[in-house]
Amino acid sequence: MNIKITYHWLLDFLETDASPFELQKYLSLAGPSIEKVENIGNDYVFDIEIISNRIDTASAFGVAQEAAAILPFFGKKAKLKFNPFEEYKFLKIIKEEREDNYKLKILIKEDNLCSRFSAIILDNVKIGPSPSFIQERLKAAGIKVINNVVDISNYLMLTLGQPTHIFDFDKISNSDGKSATMIMRQSKKGEKIITLDEKEVKLPGEDIVIEDGKERLIDLCGIMGGLNSCVSNNTKRIILFVQTYNKQKIRKTVMTTGVRTLAATYFEKGLDEERVEATLVFGIYLLKQYASAKIASELYDIYPHPYQKKKVITTFSFFQKIMGVDIPKKIIIKILNSLGFETKVYGKKLEVCVPHFRKYDINIAEDLVEEVARVYGYNNLPNNFSPPAQVFQPEEFEKIFKVSSKIKYFLKHLGLSEVINYSMISKKMIDQWGLKEKNHLKIKNSISKEIEYLRISLLPSLYKNIKDNEGKKEILKFFEIAKVYLPRENDLPKEEYRLGIAVNTDFFDLKGIFEALLLELNIQSFPFPKIVKKDNVFLVEIPLLLLIEKAKLLPKFRPINPFATIKLDKTFELKKDFAFEKIKEKAFQSPYLDKIEVLALFRNKLTLRFYYSAKDRNLTEEEAKKELNKIDF
């Protein structure tokens, strides 16, 4: 999540001699990352990436708190000018001049929807443009300026980090005109609400909503208000509404409805309930000042489980253990205090009290180490190698990686191209290959028909590779080494590495590639895998493990034969029961035959060359011819 605030906005809370660019540099190293600084007019806009568990920093005040702790460690002066958590208290509102003419009837139907519910009705509202500083800051933050009331609502969020909502009281009031009913409940599946942006949202169910007691939904809580209750130019009375919601529910609604707002992005992270008070009070001040609002109801605050002080206990030596350097006690304490943690020292022990705005992200001693280490500066820690240790790679892994690499380079040098395909394929590909859908694992929540099933063979993908590339290149030769996923009963699938090869040339090209590979891997004998022909594509696939088991680093050495080799050529007429394999089998019955080469094939006439030699003497041509003649049928 990123937010934008300006330098001067930050200076409302922070007193510092750091320039906007120094702030960028130092905060990025130790706190929220300021990704960009942009100069506009006499101010600077910071584009800030908020760390996902630090939603407490997603505001001008939140960044100011971090800056006040961090900057002094980089030699800059910095302190908080003003702490809204201390200044903006309900107590002050209660003391103020007020007329409680209006009422809210609030009913929260379930416990786990809203951890804090606060609201107040304001009367005498004059809608108009907001003051220029608010307009400028909102524009810099990338938020559309609308009118004083709406702008203040947005301004509160980016100033204090707590979203608010404002209803037009009269649009939802009961027939007496003096009260409004708010029933917070979970939505029913299929219920509809038209949101502020005039879009109808069909609810998936179990979303947090507010109903006005007349079966009308007026708020899709935490995400967007209803159009039927929104502030307009004629608005006179408003409800300022500040809540903290169940974060999982907000996230689910955002993801299922696709309606995402900045407010929702705050709520789905889980907000600090203590922030509600300061936000409501600051909101009342701003609305009084810039919309001439007057308090017109009692202050509603439903907060069933108030914040309990949380403590983490650790030792000073633990910081050294994790950081790898000795950090003086007083530095540790100074850093923790400046971040708002209270500390008590008991000898070697350290008791730390977690401030309310950190109650969700600080749980264990390691969390405190992170706080100290980041402010101390990761860059101030040395680079060390991890101490050496004897570890052994399991033989199985070692062989897979070694032999795969050898195969890949060899096939590349033969002119093939390696491809990496998705592990998932389409139903169409399964059907095309006559495979059975039920033999594949299926993805429940796939995002495309192209990638719904986990493949059990590499061939459909390789075939598709050739087809997709037709017309781009004449001769296509692909290979892939990848896992296939073979389902097993009540277990994870068997993940089996396979080698697949596909060519659009001919049968003997593919056979030759495979035979050459066997030679390269020094594999003596191998049951030849079936070559599949589909249209003009020839394919072969085998489990990689079969090759790995038989592959040898070195072939078996044969002494060089010093005696003469007799070469003899002979032409055979091939028949079904007299194929090359048969000739070969017969020929090798001779103890003198070294090898056979194919010289030519014309129709069914096959010319072969035979190499004969003896290991202990020079073989005569007559002897060789005698051997050759034995091959005849």
Partner: protein, 341 residues
């Protein structure tokens, strides 16, 4: 004998044929030299030796003159035009997927410092991808929008079957396989439901894990700094920024200095177009969370560890030669892309 004219004759020869004839004339079986040797027999014994030596010298001289003349003739001979600028014989060149080279490079870099490569299931139980990594039920990473789920019966203990969204699920598997010291890297296919110019539903991750006694942040920093210098170049540096991951504490984002502006963020006074103010995001990392160690059966009061996760695709695309603007090209099998590597 003194009136032999061989010097002049050889000198005047204009072709190899003429030279060959001269060779036969003088050195042939019935040539002049042999005749001279014949004549020796007619001389008195005391003169034979002297004469013989002289003839031998002449023979050597003629042989030498002929060889030399042959060489000269060859040199000056006008040959047919030989175009050396023509290309050599064409050898078929295949290709490997660029990631294969990148993964190989990464493995080599880590092997040198004693890390072993392992491999763990891509189709996993929720437990290994989430619970074992301190991500309890309800964590955003676990929902339908971040993880692919498989239609299969749930495991009583380990939950639903999923496509692992990260290689970190191998952390617990490795801790189950061996006890510390652990020094592993795991590079594998991982899956998440995103498909656009910067995401593919299948991609690779590269996980490093080191668990031992007395492992601290400085070891993580040192290891990643070493990797960056080996992979991207000696002049590159790293910085750590605070971040949040459930399975590490403390957690960092690791940035590497930009290779274009060399970490300055500016070139000739203008903003560098490649990086964010001089730095590029490279990886997430941190000290292994004590809950993760516990779930791996390792006592976190005795052992500590670090872990990191990189994207090999990203590492590849951060190299100067691989500026790819649509990542989907890596996995669509287009030969015009593949054959370049």
């Amino acid at each position: 004998m003194e009136n032999l004219n061989y010097k002049e004759e050889i000198e005047k020869a204009t072709s190899e044929n003429i030279l060959e004839n001269l060779r036969i004339k003088y050195l042939g079986r019935k040539g002049i030299i042999n005749k001279l040797f014949e004549e020796i027999k007619t001389l008195p014994k005391e003169k034979r030796r002297e004469k013989g030596q002289k003839i031998n010298e002449i023979k050597k001289e003629i042989t030498s003159l002929i060889e030399r003349k042959k060489y000269e003739l060859k040199k000056t001979q006008k040959e047919e035009f030989f175009d050396e600028t023509l290309p050599g014989k064409l050898y078929k060149k295949g290709s490997l997927h660029p990631l294969t080279y990148v993964i190989e490079e990464i493995v080599n870099i880590f092997q040198k410092i004693g890390f072993i490569r392992v491999s763990y299931p891509e189709v996993e139980w929720e437990y290994f991808s989430f619970e074992a990594l301190n991500m309890p039920k309800g964590h955003p990473a676990r929902d339908d929008f971040e993880t692919f789920f498989i239609e299969a019966k749930e495991h009583q203990k380990f939950g639903k079957m999923i496509l692992s969204p990260h290689t970190s699920s191998g952390q617990n598997r490795e801790m189950q396989r061996v006890k510390p010291p652990i020094r592993m890297i795991n590079i594998a296919k991982t899956y998440r439901p995103n498909w656009d110019t910067t995401h593919t539903p299948m991609f690779h991750q590269f996980e490093g894990l080191c668990i031992d006694k007395n492992i601290n942040i400085t070891h993580l920093k040192g290891t990643i700094d070493y990797f960056v210098k080996e992979f991207f170049g000696k002049e590159r540096t790293i910085r750590l920024r605070p971040a949040h991951f459930q399975f590490t504490e403390p957690s960092f984002e690791i940035d590497v200095s930009c290779g274009i502006c060399l970490g300055k963020g500016k070139i000739d006074g203008k903003k560098c177009r490649v990086c964010k103010s001089g730095w590029l995001e490279l990886a997430g990392a941190g000290m292994v969370h004590p809950n993760v160690l516990k779930m791996g059966g390792i006592n976190p009061t005795v052992y500590t560890g670090w872990a990191f996760g990189f994207g090999p695709e990203r590492c590849m695309m951060m190299r100067e030669e691989m500026k790819i603007d649509d990542i989907r090209i890596l996995y669509n099998g287009d030969i015009r892309f593949l054959e370049q590597f």
